[in-house]
């Protein structure tokens, strides 16, 4: 990874430590086992869906249908994870939720790769379909979700949810895969330059297809944690589409594809949850959180794209300069 790739990670880690330290000193309620556990559990749905979103961004696409898919999964859970089900039924019910995710992913990927729709349009359509379907199934929050399942999802050792440890391991492994293996590099190559990647004999179609399926699958797993939070079949779950893109971008993913970091995405998700967590402690209205997040995203975009812009200007002028030198000496000789 070139130096530039570290900028978002360092920046986010610094922000998280800074905000936490500032709050810990001023608010006793922040650094408690209960609050930290809560904060980490609240991060789970966003972290999972943003990790999925990072896949879509890496291959140069978006998936805005994730928000509706999470809602759909919560609504599904209210039917398949009912309070008085047997373990086997709960297992099958969980598979059904993942199935909804995979089916949505395959649907999106088919629209994008086979029917060649721009990903934003394809997933907007899916978003609308899933939203309608969720409202059809539950037009108001109802249908309690099995508390054993919720407890299992929220299992924690001290302040640390077991699942959060899993996510940390996942993003570290995913970044090693992305930057230290050939297949990871191939995925980045597809995002950076699809034509060249195809000419090199890569199955670019399969890479993009898989990325969107993985994105939806991750969103359905995020659905479990969302269900654990709301605990009821609610057809109105928060807007994860934009926040997940925001987290991925804050974490260093490029909207043009080919760049991103799963660790960065997790840090960004954690940071966004942190802001939501600390503002109420300072008796500040939650609306500020939303505005802060919006401003930060814009700032991050400007900051991270700056090297690209400068680079682009330099290559277009560099091309002019290089021709002069290549007239004289043969560079490759």
């Amino acid at each position: 990874m070139r130096f530039r790739g570290w900028i978002p990670l360092v920046l986010l880690a610094g922000l998280i430590v800074g905000v936490s330290a500032y709050t810990a000193v001023r608010q006793d309620a922040f650094l408690t086992e209960y609050n930290i556990n809560n904060l980490l559990l609240a991060t789970m749905p966003l972290a999972l869906v943003a990790i999925g979103q990072t896949n879509a961004l890496l291959v140069g696409g978006f998936d805005v249908s994730v928000a509706a898919l999470i809602t759909m999964c919560v609504v599904t859970a209210s039917f398949t994870l009912k309070p008085d089900e047997t373990t086997l039924a709960l297992f099958l019910g969980s598979l059904a939720i993942v199935g909804v995710g995979l089916a949505t992913g395959i649907f999106n990927a088919t629209l994008i790769r086979i029917f060649r729709l721009p990903s934003i349009i394809a997933t907007l359509g899916t978003l609308s379909i899933l939203e309608g379907a969720s409202l059809l199934l539950r037009n108001a929050p109802e249908g309690e979700i099995n508390s054993n399942v919720i407890d299992a999802l929220n299992t924690s050792i001290g302040f640390m949810p077991v699942a959060f440890v899993g996510v940390v391991l996942l993003v570290v492994l995913a970044d090693i895969w992305l930057y230290r293996t050939r297949t990871g590099m191939a995925v980045r190559a597809v995002g950076l330059d699809e034509t060249s990647a195809r000419r090199l004999g890569m199955s670019t179609g399969l890479v993009i297809f898989t990325a969107f399926v993985v994105c939806s699958a991750m969103a359905s797993i995020a659905g479990f944690y969302s269900a654990a939070q709301v605990q009821i079949g609610s057809p109105i779950i928060g807007d994860y589409a934009l926040t997940s893109i925001a987290a991925a971008v804050l974490g260093g993913a490029s909207l043009a594809g080919g760049r991103g970091s799963f660790v960065g995405t997790l840090l960004a998700a954690l940071f966004l949850s942190l802001i939501n967590n600390v503002l109420p402690l300072f008796q500040q209205p939650a609306e500020y959180a939303q505005m802060t997040i919006g401003a930060l995203i814009l700032l991050a975009l400007v900051l991270y794209q700056a090297p690209d812009l400068i680079g682009r200007l330099r290559t277009s002028w560099g091309g002019v300069g290089r021709l002069e030198t290549s007239d004289g000496e043969a560079p490759a000789a």
């Binding site: 950076l192 330059d193 277009s316 002019v320 043969a330 560079p331």
Partner: protein, 507 residues
């Protein structure tokens, strides 16, 4: 076609392949083979089907008809990966690098499973691989930061990684200087001695005759024959490459608007892929811009119009020409007729009327309100003058034929009163023969009004017939100038394929 026993085996064989893009038959029933250890050159003019043929051999394009065998095994599906596994390597003209990744990473991506080291040893492996092929490149550098020549060498090394039985080189020397050409040829000879069959596609006949064992000629998608390079001359090859059934008519060069006064004066003008260029164009002159595709002609024209970045000094009509943006060039009377009409000139879904008057709306009514009658009169007038054939002026431009589309984009320099220089990039590409004459006539009419024109065309016959003078570009610079009294198709083709045909004039 099978070869007798003692001869080396055929490593690439195409039998009766055809390919059409829409209505254009790019390649028609071509049979071609390349033996192991042989350098087989493939020549032809721009658009003669060379790249299409390579695309089919390499699996990037699927042939409509015909069979392809690589190293004696038939290719089933059309995929670059399969062709590669069967033993085919290809170095593309527009290279296949991911510019944002390093040299080592690009090499690593190009390597298949068994050629690859573990990820951590990538850079060391890349260094030794480059060394093995005698190419010296900084492995840690982003490919985007390399020169075009360096990228070309990297492209060739990439195509050699899988130790192919047959290697396709598509215009490998376009970005190379003379020294680098020698270096590349040494590499090619070395590979062919190792038994690799090499298909060498190039415009440059001296290079081709120097390196090839056999030469096949394509014209209009049809193979004209395969010859031993030893017994071939440039002249004979050129004769096979041209030879056109159709005679075209051109407007007379009456020289009405010709004023011996320099309108455009470029000095040290350079940009991406071209330069430095010194060029003067007079009022009323039609200057032709010739050269093999990809030698900077299009970039030069576009830079003059402010569409691409450039540096150096250009004056137009005595004033410094501002090439910072298309608008600034337009304000000084420089109009570009883009080679990509539908993308860059026209609004395909809008009507002929809207496309015609879009640049001059201010003139068509008071207070920014359009006077429909006045607009209609203007459009009807132009349509009559340029003989635009259409059902109605409200017809969307995309439903017109290529020739009529081009005429619609031509109305714009006619309507603007302040045009001084027209830059036409392939003005008759995709235009049927009948409409061509109308376009030539319109261009000549503008010249007679005192406007200077630079016409870039890949059709030597067109340049010979239309222009007052032709300059030939190669590797981004002007290498030859052909005055009006020497103009002829043969002379232009020789200048293009020879790269430097001036020697011919002196002899």
């Amino acid at each position: 076609m099978s070869t007798p026993g003692p001869e080396p085996s055929v490593v690439l064989s195409l039998r009766g392949v055809s390919k059409a893009f829409g209505a254009v038959q790019a390649v028609r029933d071509v049979t071609f083979d390349c033996r192991g250890g042989e350098i087989h050159a493939l020549v032809g003019e721009n658009g003669s089907g060379k790249s299409t043929l390579l695309g089919m051999a390499s699996g990037f394009l699927a042939p409509d008809d015909g069979e392809i065998e690589i190293d004696g095994r038939p290719r089933r599906r059309g995929s670059p990966g399969e062709a590669r596994r069967l033993g085919l390597g290809i170095a593309y003209q527009t290279t296949s690098h991911v510019l944002d990744l390093s040299v080592a990473e690009n090499l690593y991506l190009a390597a298949s499973g068994n050629e690859r080291p573990v990820y951590g040893r990538m850079e060391r492996w890349a260094t030794s691989t480059l060394e093995e092929f005698g190419v010296d490149l900084p492995v840690g550098t982003r490919v985007g930061a390399l020169s075009l020549a360096q990228r070309q060498f990297l492209e060739v090394v990439k195509s050699l990684l899988a130790r192919p039985k047959v290697l396709l080189l598509d215009e490998p020397t376009t970005a190379l200087g003379p020294q680098e050409v020698q270096q590349l040829h040494a590499l090619v000879h070395e590979r062919s001695r190792a038994g690799v069959g090499i298909v060498y596609v190039s415009h440059r006949l001296p290079e081709v005759l120097q390196i090839a064992d056999r030469v096949s000629v394509l014209r209009d998608g049809v193979k004209q024959g395969t010859f031993d390079a030893a017994g071939m001359s440039e002249d004979a090859l050129v004769a096979h490459m041209i030879g056109r059934p159709l005679q075209l008519a051109f407007p007379e060069r009456d020289g009405d608007g010709r004023v011996p006064e320099v309108l455009l004066d470029a000095a040290g003008f350079r940009g991406d892929r071209f330069g430095p260029i010194e060029l003067k164009v007079e009022r009323g002159e039609i200057l032709g811009l010739a050269g093999a595709e990809g030698n900077g002609q299009a970039q030069f024209l576009r830079a003059l119009a402010g569409v691409e970045r450039a540096a150096g000094r250009v004056s137009c009509d005595g004033a410094e020409l501002n090439t910072k943006s298309p608008l600034s060039a337009l304000r000084q009377g420089v109009v570009l007729l883009s080679g990509d009409r539908m993308q860059e000139s026209l609004f395909p879904v809008l009507s002929v009327r809207a496309n015609t008057t879009v640049q001059v709306l201010r003139r068509l009514g008071p207070l920014g309100l359009l006077n429909r009658r006045r607009e209609r009169r203007t459009v009807d007038d132009m349509a009559g003058r340029l003989r635009i054939r259409m059902a109605s002026v409200e017809q969307p431009v995309q439903s017109l034929s290529g020739g009529n589309q081009q005429k619609v984009s031509l109305t714009r320099p006619f309507l603007r009163g302040d045009v001084k220089l027209i830059l036409a990039d392939e003005p008759t590409q995709g235009v049927d023969v009948g409409a061509r004459f109308d376009i030539y006539e319109a261009l000549r009419a503008k010249a007679n009004e005192g406007v200077a024109l630079i016409v870039k065309s890949s059709d030597p016959l067109e340049l010979a017939g239309l222009c007052d003078r032709v300059v030939v570009m190669s590797r981004g610079v002007i290498v030859d100038e052909i005055p009006g009294n020497e103009l002829g198709e043969q002379r232009i083709v020789e200048a293009i394929v020879g790269g430097r045909a001036a020697k011919k004039v002196e002899a």
